[in-house]
Protein backbone atom coordinates (compact mmCIF):
# COMPACT_ATOMS: atom_id res chain seq x y z
CA UNK A 1 0.00 0.00 0.00
CA UNK A 2 3.03 2.27 0.15
CA UNK A 3 3.10 2.88 -3.59
CA UNK A 4 2.88 6.36 -5.12
CA UNK A 5 1.76 8.25 -2.09
CA UNK A 6 3.03 11.59 -3.24
CA UNK A 7 -0.50 12.86 -2.75
CA UNK A 8 -2.27 11.75 0.43
CA UNK A 9 -5.60 12.63 -1.14
CA UNK A 10 -6.29 12.81 -4.85
CA UNK A 11 -9.79 13.57 -6.13
CA UNK A 12 -10.58 14.01 -9.80
CA UNK A 13 -13.93 14.73 -11.39
CA UNK A 14 -15.92 13.89 -8.26
CA UNK A 15 -19.64 14.14 -8.88
CA UNK A 16 -22.46 13.64 -6.43
CA UNK A 17 -26.17 14.25 -6.73
CA UNK A 18 -29.01 13.69 -4.31
CA UNK A 19 -31.93 13.00 -6.58
CA UNK A 20 -32.15 15.85 -9.05
CA UNK A 21 -30.01 18.11 -6.89
CA UNK A 22 -26.39 18.17 -7.97
CA UNK A 23 -24.13 18.78 -4.99
CA UNK A 24 -20.72 18.17 -6.52
CA UNK A 25 -20.31 18.91 -10.20
CA UNK A 26 -16.78 17.70 -10.78
CA UNK A 27 -14.49 18.39 -7.84
CA UNK A 28 -10.72 18.14 -8.38
CA UNK A 29 -8.37 18.44 -5.45
CA UNK A 30 -5.13 17.13 -4.03
CA UNK A 31 -3.68 17.17 -0.57
CA UNK A 32 0.04 16.52 -0.28
CA UNK A 33 2.32 15.25 2.46
CA UNK A 34 2.97 17.79 5.18
CA UNK A 35 0.07 20.03 4.24
CA UNK A 36 -2.81 21.49 6.20
CA UNK A 37 -5.56 22.13 3.68
CA UNK A 38 -8.86 23.87 4.39
CA UNK A 39 -11.89 23.09 2.28
CA UNK A 40 -13.70 26.38 2.56
CA UNK A 41 -17.23 27.03 1.45
CA UNK A 42 -20.63 28.22 2.55
CA UNK A 43 -23.04 25.90 4.34
CA UNK A 44 -24.56 23.45 1.90
CA UNK A 45 -21.74 23.75 -0.61
CA UNK A 46 -20.98 20.01 -0.39
CA UNK A 47 -17.99 20.09 1.95
CA UNK A 48 -19.34 17.32 4.14
CA UNK A 49 -20.24 15.19 1.13
CA UNK A 50 -16.72 15.63 -0.23
CA UNK A 51 -15.01 14.56 2.99
CA UNK A 52 -17.41 11.65 3.43
CA UNK A 53 -16.39 10.32 0.05
CA UNK A 54 -12.73 10.76 1.03
CA UNK A 55 -13.32 8.96 4.33
CA UNK A 56 -14.96 6.05 2.53
CA UNK A 57 -18.34 6.61 4.15
CA UNK A 58 -20.21 7.50 1.01
CA UNK A 59 -20.24 6.05 -2.49
CA UNK A 60 -19.54 8.55 -5.20
CA UNK A 61 -21.60 8.88 -8.36
CA UNK A 62 -18.58 9.47 -10.56
CA UNK A 63 -14.95 10.44 -10.44
CA UNK A 64 -11.63 9.05 -9.23
CA UNK A 65 -10.64 9.18 -5.61
CA UNK A 66 -7.45 7.92 -4.02
CA UNK A 67 -6.69 8.31 -0.33
CA UNK A 68 -3.32 7.11 0.99
CA UNK A 69 -2.97 5.24 -2.29
CA UNK A 70 -6.28 3.39 -1.98
CA UNK A 71 -9.77 3.89 -3.40
CA UNK A 72 -11.82 4.66 -0.24
CA UNK A 73 -14.64 2.41 -1.43
CA UNK A 74 -12.23 -0.51 -1.18
CA UNK A 75 -10.25 0.55 1.88
CA UNK A 76 -9.61 -2.26 4.36
CA UNK A 77 -9.19 -1.97 8.11
CA UNK A 78 -5.46 -1.33 7.94
CA UNK A 79 -6.27 1.62 5.67
CA UNK A 80 -9.04 2.78 8.00
CA UNK A 81 -6.56 2.69 10.90
CA UNK A 82 -4.38 5.27 9.12
CA UNK A 83 -7.18 7.83 8.88
CA UNK A 84 -8.47 9.93 11.73
CA UNK A 85 -12.00 11.21 11.34
CA UNK A 86 -13.78 14.05 13.12
CA UNK A 87 -17.35 14.37 11.94
CA UNK A 88 -20.06 16.85 12.81
CA UNK A 89 -22.85 16.71 15.33
CA UNK A 90 -22.50 13.72 17.58
CA UNK A 91 -24.55 12.93 20.67
CA UNK A 92 -23.27 9.40 21.12
CA UNK A 93 -22.08 7.36 24.11
CA UNK A 94 -23.90 9.52 26.62
CA UNK A 95 -23.42 7.12 29.49
CA UNK A 96 -19.72 6.69 28.90
CA UNK A 97 -17.07 8.62 30.74
CA UNK A 98 -14.55 10.61 28.74
CA UNK A 99 -11.47 8.53 29.46
CA UNK A 100 -13.43 5.30 29.25
CA UNK A 101 -14.60 6.10 25.72
CA UNK A 102 -11.28 7.43 24.46
CA UNK A 103 -9.55 4.34 25.91
CA UNK A 104 -12.07 2.01 24.27
CA UNK A 105 -11.70 3.60 20.85
CA UNK A 106 -7.92 3.80 21.28
CA UNK A 107 -7.81 0.06 21.86
CA UNK A 108 -9.26 -0.67 18.43
CA UNK A 109 -6.01 0.67 16.87
CA UNK A 110 -3.62 -1.63 18.71
CA UNK A 111 -3.28 -4.27 15.95
CA UNK A 112 -2.19 -1.55 13.50
CA UNK A 113 0.88 -0.43 15.41
CA UNK A 114 4.14 -0.24 13.44
CA UNK A 115 7.75 0.04 14.54
CA UNK A 116 8.41 3.74 15.10
CA UNK A 117 4.69 4.42 14.78
CA UNK A 118 3.09 3.21 18.00
CA UNK A 119 -0.69 3.03 17.82
CA UNK A 120 -2.69 4.16 19.66
CA UNK A 121 -1.45 7.36 21.22
CA UNK A 122 -1.18 7.55 25.00
CA UNK A 123 -4.71 8.34 26.16
CA UNK A 124 -3.80 10.46 29.18
CA UNK A 125 -1.28 12.52 27.25
CA UNK A 126 -3.85 13.16 24.58
CA UNK A 127 -6.50 14.17 27.13
CA UNK A 128 -4.02 16.59 28.62
CA UNK A 129 -3.22 17.98 25.17
CA UNK A 130 -6.87 18.76 24.43
CA UNK A 131 -7.43 20.10 27.95
CA UNK A 132 -9.77 17.40 29.17
CA UNK A 133 -7.72 15.92 32.01
CA UNK A 134 -10.07 17.39 34.60
CA UNK A 135 -13.09 16.06 32.72
CA UNK A 136 -11.60 12.58 32.24
CA UNK A 137 -14.10 10.94 34.57
CA UNK A 138 -17.09 13.01 33.57
CA UNK A 139 -19.98 11.45 31.72
CA UNK A 140 -20.28 12.42 28.07
CA UNK A 141 -23.79 13.75 28.69
CA UNK A 142 -22.40 16.35 31.10
CA UNK A 143 -19.80 17.81 28.72
CA UNK A 144 -20.20 21.28 27.26
CA UNK A 145 -20.33 21.64 23.49
CA UNK A 146 -16.72 22.80 23.42
CA UNK A 147 -15.49 19.95 25.61
CA UNK A 148 -17.30 17.46 23.39
CA UNK A 149 -15.72 18.95 20.31
CA UNK A 150 -12.25 18.70 21.87
CA UNK A 151 -12.92 15.07 22.69
CA UNK A 152 -14.01 14.51 19.08
CA UNK A 153 -10.65 15.87 17.96
CA UNK A 154 -8.84 13.66 20.48
CA UNK A 155 -10.71 10.63 19.14
CA UNK A 156 -9.68 11.60 15.62
CA UNK A 157 -6.04 11.72 16.74
CA UNK A 158 -5.93 8.73 19.05
CA UNK A 159 -4.94 6.24 16.33
CA UNK A 160 -1.96 8.43 15.33
CA UNK A 161 -3.37 8.83 11.83
CA UNK A 162 -1.35 9.57 8.69
CA UNK A 163 -4.30 11.61 7.46
CA UNK A 164 -6.68 13.54 9.69
CA UNK A 165 -9.97 14.68 8.18
CA UNK A 166 -12.06 17.10 10.20
CA UNK A 167 -15.51 18.38 9.32
CA UNK A 168 -16.18 21.81 10.83
CA UNK A 169 -13.91 21.03 13.78
CA UNK A 170 -14.24 24.35 15.56
CA UNK A 171 -17.98 24.83 15.25
CA UNK A 172 -19.19 25.67 18.74
CA UNK A 173 -15.75 26.44 20.14
CA UNK A 174 -15.05 29.76 21.84
CA UNK A 175 -12.16 31.84 20.49
CA UNK A 176 -9.67 30.55 23.08
CA UNK A 177 -10.55 26.90 22.40
CA UNK A 178 -10.41 27.63 18.70
CA UNK A 179 -6.89 28.97 19.04
CA UNK A 180 -5.84 25.94 21.07
CA UNK A 181 -7.26 23.75 18.37
CA UNK A 182 -5.21 25.53 15.72
CA UNK A 183 -2.08 25.07 17.81
CA UNK A 184 -2.89 21.40 18.27
CA UNK A 185 -3.25 20.92 14.53
CA UNK A 186 0.13 22.51 13.88
CA UNK A 187 1.78 20.49 16.60
CA UNK A 188 0.41 17.26 15.16
CA UNK A 189 1.62 18.22 11.71
CA UNK A 190 5.07 19.19 12.97
CA UNK A 191 5.61 16.18 15.25
CA UNK A 192 4.00 13.35 13.31
CA UNK A 193 3.86 14.65 9.77
CA UNK A 194 0.11 14.09 9.77
CA UNK A 195 -1.65 15.41 6.70
CA UNK A 196 -4.69 17.48 7.65
CA UNK A 197 -7.78 18.19 5.59
CA UNK A 198 -10.45 20.20 7.33
CA UNK A 199 -13.66 21.85 6.27
CA UNK A 200 -14.81 25.21 7.47
CA UNK A 201 -17.23 27.91 6.46
CA UNK A 202 -15.17 30.43 8.37
CA UNK A 203 -12.74 32.33 6.19
CA UNK A 204 -10.70 33.61 9.14
CA UNK A 205 -10.17 30.07 10.34
CA UNK A 206 -9.09 28.87 6.91
CA UNK A 207 -6.59 31.73 6.69
CA UNK A 208 -5.24 31.04 10.17
CA UNK A 209 -4.85 27.30 10.14
CA UNK A 210 -4.33 26.26 6.54
CA UNK A 211 -1.30 26.27 4.28
CA UNK A 212 -3.67 26.10 1.40
CA UNK A 213 -7.33 26.91 0.84
CA UNK A 214 -9.66 25.10 -1.51
CA UNK A 215 -12.73 27.19 -2.09
CA UNK A 216 -15.79 25.07 -2.84
CA UNK A 217 -18.81 26.78 -4.35
CA UNK A 218 -21.40 25.75 -6.88
CA UNK A 219 -20.23 22.15 -6.72
CA UNK A 220 -16.67 22.92 -7.86
CA UNK A 221 -13.38 24.07 -6.47
CA UNK A 222 -13.37 27.67 -7.64
CA UNK A 223 -10.05 28.66 -6.13
CA UNK A 224 -7.02 26.76 -4.89
CA UNK A 225 -3.90 28.17 -3.29
CA UNK A 226 -2.45 30.11 -0.38
CA UNK A 227 -4.86 32.57 1.24
CA UNK A 228 -3.26 35.39 -0.75
CA UNK A 229 -3.45 33.44 -3.99
CA UNK A 230 -7.07 32.56 -3.39
CA UNK A 231 -7.80 36.22 -2.76
CA UNK A 232 -6.28 37.06 -6.12
CA UNK A 233 -8.21 34.30 -7.87
CA UNK A 234 -11.65 35.09 -6.58
CA UNK A 235 -11.51 38.68 -5.48
CA UNK A 236 -11.08 40.31 -8.85
CA UNK A 237 -8.61 43.00 -9.78
CA UNK A 238 -6.83 45.40 -7.50
CA UNK A 239 -7.35 49.09 -7.96
CA UNK A 240 -4.45 51.48 -8.54
CA UNK A 241 -5.19 55.18 -7.94
CA UNK A 242 -2.84 58.04 -8.52
CA UNK A 243 -2.54 61.69 -9.53
CA UNK A 244 -0.67 62.79 -12.58
CA UNK A 245 -0.61 66.27 -14.10
CA UNK A 246 -3.16 67.36 -11.52
CA UNK A 247 -5.65 64.77 -12.62
CA UNK A 248 -6.94 61.70 -10.71
CA UNK A 249 -6.57 58.32 -12.36
CA UNK A 250 -7.97 54.90 -11.47
CA UNK A 251 -6.93 51.65 -13.07
CA UNK A 252 -8.04 48.09 -12.40
CA UNK A 253 -5.41 45.39 -12.74
CA UNK A 254 -4.71 41.81 -11.79
CA UNK A 255 -1.03 42.59 -11.55
CA UNK A 256 -0.74 45.79 -9.54
CA UNK A 257 2.99 45.27 -9.00
CA UNK A 258 3.86 45.27 -12.69
CA UNK A 259 1.42 48.04 -13.46
CA UNK A 260 2.76 50.25 -10.70
CA UNK A 261 6.36 49.61 -11.77
CA UNK A 262 5.55 50.76 -15.29
CA UNK A 263 3.54 53.67 -13.98
CA UNK A 264 6.36 54.92 -11.78
CA UNK A 265 8.80 54.60 -14.66
CA UNK A 266 6.79 57.25 -16.49
CA UNK A 267 7.85 59.75 -13.83
CA UNK A 268 5.36 62.35 -12.70
CA UNK A 269 3.11 60.36 -10.31
CA UNK A 270 1.56 61.56 -7.02
CA UNK A 271 -0.66 60.12 -4.32
CA UNK A 272 -0.14 56.54 -5.43
CA UNK A 273 -2.50 54.07 -3.77
CA UNK A 274 -2.99 50.34 -4.43
CA UNK A 275 -6.20 48.89 -3.08
CA UNK A 276 -5.93 45.11 -2.84
CA UNK A 277 -9.06 43.12 -3.42
CA UNK A 278 -10.20 41.73 -0.12
CA UNK A 279 -10.64 37.97 0.16
CA UNK A 280 -13.30 38.55 2.75
CA UNK A 281 -15.41 40.65 0.40
CA UNK A 282 -15.03 38.08 -2.32
CA UNK A 283 -15.92 35.24 -0.01
CA UNK A 284 -18.96 37.03 1.39
CA UNK A 285 -20.08 37.67 -2.16
CA UNK A 286 -19.76 33.96 -2.95
CA UNK A 287 -21.64 33.02 0.21
CA UNK A 288 -24.35 35.57 -0.59
CA UNK A 289 -24.80 34.25 -4.09
CA UNK A 290 -24.75 30.67 -2.87
CA UNK A 291 -27.36 31.27 -0.22
CA UNK A 292 -29.55 33.11 -2.66
CA UNK A 293 -29.55 29.85 -4.59
CA UNK A 294 -27.76 31.53 -7.45
CA UNK A 295 -24.42 29.83 -7.01
CA UNK A 296 -23.31 29.45 -10.56
CA UNK A 297 -21.22 26.45 -11.47
CA UNK A 298 -19.26 28.54 -13.90
CA UNK A 299 -18.39 31.17 -11.38
CA UNK A 300 -15.64 33.17 -12.98
CA UNK A 301 -12.38 31.94 -11.63
CA UNK A 302 -9.87 33.71 -13.78
CA UNK A 303 -11.03 37.09 -14.80
Amino acid sequence: MEHTEDAAVRVAGLRMAYGAHTVLAGVDLEVHAGEVVALLGPNGAGKTTTVEVIEGFRRRDAGDVEVLGVDPEHGDDAWRARIGVVLQSWRDHRRWRVRELLGQLADTYRPYSRPGLPRPRDVDELLARVGLTDAAHQRMSTLSGGQRRRLDVAIGLVGRPDLLVLDEPTAGLDPAARREFHELVHEVVDNDGTVVLLTTHDLAEAETVADRILLLAGGRIVADGSPAAVARQVAGPSEVRWRADGERHVHSTHDPVAFTRDLLATGDVDDLEVVRASLEDAYLEIVRRHEAGAAHPDLEVTR
Partner: protein, 285 residues
Protein backbone atom coordinates in the same frame (compact mmCIF):
# COMPACT_ATOMS: atom_id res chain seq x y z
CA UNK B 1 4.01 -5.05 23.01
CA UNK B 2 3.51 -7.22 19.93
CA UNK B 3 0.63 -6.38 17.65
CA UNK B 4 -2.38 -8.65 18.10
CA UNK B 5 -4.31 -10.27 15.23
CA UNK B 6 -6.96 -7.78 14.02
CA UNK B 7 -10.03 -10.01 14.12
CA UNK B 8 -9.36 -11.60 17.51
CA UNK B 9 -8.50 -8.18 18.89
CA UNK B 10 -11.76 -6.67 17.63
CA UNK B 11 -13.68 -9.43 19.42
CA UNK B 12 -11.71 -8.76 22.58
CA UNK B 13 -12.31 -5.01 22.52
CA UNK B 14 -15.96 -5.85 21.84
CA UNK B 15 -16.16 -7.99 24.97
CA UNK B 16 -14.61 -5.17 26.97
CA UNK B 17 -17.09 -2.77 25.45
CA UNK B 18 -19.96 -5.05 26.47
CA UNK B 19 -18.64 -5.30 30.04
CA UNK B 20 -18.43 -1.52 30.21
CA UNK B 21 -22.00 -1.13 28.97
CA UNK B 22 -23.15 -3.70 31.55
CA UNK B 23 -21.38 -1.69 34.25
CA UNK B 24 -23.19 1.43 33.05
CA UNK B 25 -26.47 -0.44 33.32
CA UNK B 26 -25.75 -1.54 36.87
CA UNK B 27 -24.95 2.05 37.79
CA UNK B 28 -27.98 3.52 36.09
CA UNK B 29 -30.78 4.20 38.59
CA UNK B 30 -33.46 3.89 35.88
CA UNK B 31 -32.24 0.50 34.67
CA UNK B 32 -31.86 -0.88 38.18
CA UNK B 33 -35.25 0.46 39.29
CA UNK B 34 -36.95 -1.01 36.20
CA UNK B 35 -35.53 -4.49 36.84
CA UNK B 36 -36.20 -4.43 40.56
CA UNK B 37 -39.76 -3.08 40.29
CA UNK B 38 -40.86 -5.48 37.56
CA UNK B 39 -39.16 -8.41 39.26
CA UNK B 40 -40.74 -7.64 42.65
CA UNK B 41 -44.16 -7.06 41.08
CA UNK B 42 -44.04 -10.50 39.43
CA UNK B 43 -42.88 -12.16 42.64
CA UNK B 44 -45.53 -10.43 44.77
CA UNK B 45 -48.26 -11.48 42.36
CA UNK B 46 -47.06 -15.08 42.34
CA UNK B 47 -46.77 -15.21 46.14
CA UNK B 48 -50.44 -14.19 46.39
CA UNK B 49 -51.26 -17.01 43.92
CA UNK B 50 -49.11 -19.59 45.63
CA UNK B 51 -52.12 -21.60 46.82
CA UNK B 52 -53.95 -21.48 43.48
CA UNK B 53 -54.02 -24.97 42.00
CA UNK B 54 -54.47 -25.02 38.24
CA UNK B 55 -57.33 -27.33 37.25
CA UNK B 56 -56.31 -30.37 35.22
CA UNK B 57 -52.63 -30.01 36.09
CA UNK B 58 -52.48 -32.79 38.63
CA UNK B 59 -52.09 -30.39 41.57
CA UNK B 60 -49.57 -27.90 40.16
CA UNK B 61 -49.80 -24.32 41.41
CA UNK B 62 -50.01 -21.25 39.24
CA UNK B 63 -46.44 -20.17 40.08
CA UNK B 64 -45.15 -23.65 39.13
CA UNK B 65 -46.78 -23.40 35.74
CA UNK B 66 -45.92 -19.74 35.25
CA UNK B 67 -42.17 -19.99 35.86
CA UNK B 68 -41.16 -21.39 32.44
CA UNK B 69 -43.28 -18.80 30.66
CA UNK B 70 -41.88 -15.97 32.75
CA UNK B 71 -38.32 -17.09 31.97
CA UNK B 72 -39.12 -17.42 28.27
CA UNK B 73 -40.74 -13.97 28.22
CA UNK B 74 -37.75 -12.47 30.04
CA UNK B 75 -35.45 -13.84 27.36
CA UNK B 76 -37.74 -12.76 24.53
CA UNK B 77 -38.25 -9.21 25.79
CA UNK B 78 -34.66 -8.83 26.96
CA UNK B 79 -33.02 -10.23 23.83
CA UNK B 80 -35.38 -8.74 21.25
CA UNK B 81 -36.47 -5.42 22.72
CA UNK B 82 -33.15 -4.70 24.45
CA UNK B 83 -30.95 -4.82 21.32
CA UNK B 84 -33.68 -3.35 19.10
CA UNK B 85 -34.06 -0.23 21.24
CA UNK B 86 -30.34 0.07 21.93
CA UNK B 87 -29.36 -0.33 18.29
CA UNK B 88 -32.00 2.03 16.91
CA UNK B 89 -31.07 4.65 19.52
CA UNK B 90 -27.38 4.25 18.71
CA UNK B 91 -27.99 4.51 14.99
CA UNK B 92 -29.77 7.76 15.68
CA UNK B 93 -27.29 9.32 18.10
CA UNK B 94 -24.18 8.49 16.05
CA UNK B 95 -22.70 5.69 18.18
CA UNK B 96 -22.78 3.30 15.23
CA UNK B 97 -21.16 5.91 13.02
CA UNK B 98 -18.48 6.65 15.61
CA UNK B 99 -17.48 3.00 15.71
CA UNK B 100 -17.44 2.99 11.93
CA UNK B 101 -14.60 5.49 11.98
CA UNK B 102 -12.36 3.00 13.82
CA UNK B 103 -10.75 -0.11 12.30
CA UNK B 104 -13.03 -3.14 12.58
CA UNK B 105 -15.31 -0.96 14.64
CA UNK B 106 -18.47 -2.68 13.45
CA UNK B 107 -17.18 -6.01 14.78
CA UNK B 108 -16.27 -4.37 18.07
CA UNK B 109 -19.69 -2.74 18.23
CA UNK B 110 -21.61 -5.95 17.46
CA UNK B 111 -19.70 -8.06 19.97
CA UNK B 112 -20.13 -5.30 22.55
CA UNK B 113 -23.86 -5.16 21.89
CA UNK B 114 -24.27 -8.95 22.25
CA UNK B 115 -22.20 -9.17 25.42
CA UNK B 116 -23.86 -6.13 26.96
CA UNK B 117 -27.39 -7.30 26.21
CA UNK B 118 -26.82 -10.88 27.37
CA UNK B 119 -25.29 -9.69 30.64
CA UNK B 120 -28.12 -7.18 30.87
CA UNK B 121 -30.68 -9.98 31.16
CA UNK B 122 -28.93 -11.50 34.18
CA UNK B 123 -30.16 -9.07 36.87
CA UNK B 124 -33.81 -9.82 36.08
CA UNK B 125 -33.18 -13.58 36.04
CA UNK B 126 -31.37 -13.30 39.36
CA UNK B 127 -34.13 -11.18 40.92
CA UNK B 128 -36.70 -13.82 39.92
CA UNK B 129 -34.79 -17.05 40.47
CA UNK B 130 -32.73 -16.43 43.59
CA UNK B 131 -35.66 -15.83 45.97
CA UNK B 132 -37.97 -18.28 44.14
CA UNK B 133 -37.16 -21.47 46.15
CA UNK B 134 -37.59 -19.57 49.42
CA UNK B 135 -40.85 -17.81 48.52
CA UNK B 136 -42.56 -20.29 46.21
CA UNK B 137 -40.98 -23.67 46.83
CA UNK B 138 -38.55 -25.70 44.69
CA UNK B 139 -39.55 -25.06 41.05
CA UNK B 140 -37.54 -28.01 39.67
CA UNK B 141 -39.95 -30.91 39.86
CA UNK B 142 -37.57 -33.32 38.12
CA UNK B 143 -34.69 -32.73 40.49
CA UNK B 144 -31.83 -30.26 40.80
CA UNK B 145 -30.51 -31.21 37.34
CA UNK B 146 -33.37 -29.07 36.06
CA UNK B 147 -31.37 -25.94 36.89
CA UNK B 148 -28.65 -27.00 34.46
CA UNK B 149 -31.22 -27.76 31.77
CA UNK B 150 -32.87 -24.38 32.39
CA UNK B 151 -29.55 -22.63 31.80
CA UNK B 152 -29.20 -24.59 28.55
CA UNK B 153 -32.68 -23.56 27.36
CA UNK B 154 -32.04 -19.94 28.27
CA UNK B 155 -28.79 -19.90 26.29
CA UNK B 156 -30.44 -21.53 23.29
CA UNK B 157 -33.34 -19.10 23.57
CA UNK B 158 -30.87 -16.21 23.68
CA UNK B 159 -29.18 -17.41 20.49
CA UNK B 160 -32.57 -17.76 18.79
CA UNK B 161 -33.96 -14.35 19.78
CA UNK B 162 -31.04 -11.91 20.04
CA UNK B 163 -30.43 -11.78 16.28
CA UNK B 164 -34.14 -10.94 15.83
CA UNK B 165 -33.61 -7.92 18.06
CA UNK B 166 -30.55 -6.82 16.12
CA UNK B 167 -32.29 -7.20 12.76
CA UNK B 168 -35.39 -5.41 14.10
CA UNK B 169 -33.37 -2.53 15.51
CA UNK B 170 -31.26 -2.20 12.37
CA UNK B 171 -34.28 -2.19 10.07
CA UNK B 172 -36.36 0.12 12.24
CA UNK B 173 -33.37 2.46 12.78
CA UNK B 174 -35.48 4.72 15.01
CA UNK B 175 -36.73 4.02 18.53
CA UNK B 176 -40.25 5.21 17.64
CA UNK B 177 -40.43 2.72 14.80
CA UNK B 178 -39.15 -0.05 17.07
CA UNK B 179 -42.31 0.45 19.16
CA UNK B 180 -44.45 -0.23 16.13
CA UNK B 181 -42.51 -2.82 14.17
CA UNK B 182 -40.83 -4.80 16.95
CA UNK B 183 -42.54 -4.20 20.28
CA UNK B 184 -46.11 -4.64 19.03
CA UNK B 185 -45.49 -8.02 17.30
CA UNK B 186 -43.49 -9.28 20.30
CA UNK B 187 -46.27 -8.39 22.75
CA UNK B 188 -48.85 -10.04 20.48
CA UNK B 189 -46.67 -13.13 20.22
CA UNK B 190 -46.24 -13.26 23.99
CA UNK B 191 -50.02 -13.25 24.48
CA UNK B 192 -50.71 -15.78 21.74
CA UNK B 193 -47.93 -18.14 22.79
CA UNK B 194 -49.33 -18.68 26.26
CA UNK B 195 -46.65 -17.17 28.38
CA UNK B 196 -48.35 -18.12 31.65
CA UNK B 197 -49.31 -21.61 30.64
CA UNK B 198 -50.43 -23.45 27.54
CA UNK B 199 -54.08 -23.20 28.45
CA UNK B 200 -54.13 -19.53 27.38
CA UNK B 201 -53.29 -20.25 23.73
CA UNK B 202 -56.39 -19.66 21.62
CA UNK B 203 -57.06 -22.57 19.29
CA UNK B 204 -56.73 -20.51 16.11
CA UNK B 205 -53.31 -19.26 17.19
CA UNK B 206 -51.89 -22.59 18.30
CA UNK B 207 -50.53 -23.45 14.87
CA UNK B 208 -49.13 -20.01 14.11
CA UNK B 209 -47.21 -19.54 17.35
CA UNK B 210 -45.39 -22.82 16.81
CA UNK B 211 -43.44 -21.18 13.99
CA UNK B 212 -41.87 -18.78 16.50
CA UNK B 213 -39.20 -19.34 19.12
CA UNK B 214 -41.16 -18.11 22.14
CA UNK B 215 -43.61 -21.02 22.23
CA UNK B 216 -40.84 -23.59 21.90
CA UNK B 217 -38.60 -21.91 24.44
CA UNK B 218 -41.44 -21.98 26.98
CA UNK B 219 -42.30 -25.55 25.98
CA UNK B 220 -38.71 -26.67 26.42
CA UNK B 221 -38.50 -25.00 29.81
CA UNK B 222 -41.77 -26.60 30.92
CA UNK B 223 -40.53 -30.01 29.84
CA UNK B 224 -37.55 -29.43 32.13
CA UNK B 225 -39.14 -27.96 35.25
CA UNK B 226 -42.62 -29.52 35.43
CA UNK B 227 -43.24 -33.05 36.77
CA UNK B 228 -44.32 -36.05 34.72
CA UNK B 229 -48.03 -35.76 33.94
CA UNK B 230 -47.96 -32.04 33.21
CA UNK B 231 -47.56 -32.76 29.49
CA UNK B 232 -51.32 -33.29 29.45
CA UNK B 233 -51.64 -29.50 29.36
CA UNK B 234 -49.48 -29.11 26.26
CA UNK B 235 -50.75 -28.77 22.73
CA UNK B 236 -50.80 -32.38 21.54
CA UNK B 237 -50.49 -33.61 25.09
CA UNK B 238 -46.83 -34.62 24.93
CA UNK B 239 -43.32 -33.20 25.49
CA UNK B 240 -41.26 -32.50 22.38
CA UNK B 241 -37.99 -31.08 23.72
CA UNK B 242 -36.14 -32.24 20.59
CA UNK B 243 -38.49 -30.28 18.31
CA UNK B 244 -38.17 -27.31 20.64
CA UNK B 245 -34.38 -27.47 20.44
CA UNK B 246 -34.44 -27.83 16.64
CA UNK B 247 -36.81 -24.89 16.12
CA UNK B 248 -34.70 -22.68 18.39
CA UNK B 249 -31.54 -23.82 16.64
CA UNK B 250 -33.04 -23.06 13.24
CA UNK B 251 -33.95 -19.52 14.36
CA UNK B 252 -30.45 -19.13 15.77
CA UNK B 253 -28.78 -20.20 12.52
CA UNK B 254 -30.95 -18.01 10.32
CA UNK B 255 -30.55 -15.09 12.73
CA UNK B 256 -26.79 -15.40 13.05
CA UNK B 257 -26.47 -15.39 9.26
CA UNK B 258 -28.93 -12.53 8.69
CA UNK B 259 -27.99 -10.21 11.57
CA UNK B 260 -24.42 -9.36 10.45
CA UNK B 261 -25.61 -8.74 6.87
CA UNK B 262 -28.42 -6.40 7.97
CA UNK B 263 -26.20 -4.70 10.53
CA UNK B 264 -23.45 -4.10 7.99
CA UNK B 265 -25.96 -2.55 5.59
CA UNK B 266 -27.38 -0.29 8.27
CA UNK B 267 -23.90 0.69 9.41
CA UNK B 268 -22.86 1.45 5.83
CA UNK B 269 -25.78 3.85 5.51
CA UNK B 270 -24.63 5.85 8.51
CA UNK B 271 -22.98 9.04 7.38
CA UNK B 272 -22.47 12.38 8.97
CA UNK B 273 -24.86 14.07 6.59
CA UNK B 274 -27.55 11.49 7.34
CA UNK B 275 -26.97 12.21 11.01
CA UNK B 276 -27.14 15.94 10.42
CA UNK B 277 -30.41 15.55 8.53
CA UNK B 278 -31.91 13.61 11.41
CA UNK B 279 -30.73 16.25 13.86
CA UNK B 280 -32.27 18.96 11.70
CA UNK B 281 -35.53 17.00 11.60
CA UNK B 282 -35.43 16.70 15.38
CA UNK B 283 -34.85 20.40 15.81
CA UNK B 284 -37.66 21.28 13.45
CA UNK B 285 -39.72 18.85 15.50
Amino acid sequence: MSTPAPRAWAVRTGVRRGLTEFRHMLRSPEDVAWNVLIGIAILVYLVTQRGTVVPGSGGLTLPDLALPGILAATILFGMVMGPAFALSAEVEDGTVLRLRTTPRGTTTYTVGMVVGQVLGALPMLAILLVPWPFLLGDPMHQGAGGWVAVVGWLLLGTLATLPIGIVGGALAARPTRVMLFVLAPVVALAFLSGVFGPQTVPAWAAGAVQAFPLYWLAHGLRSTTLPAGAEGLELGGAWHPEIAALVLLAWAVVGLVAAPVVLRRTSARQTASALAHRLQALIRG
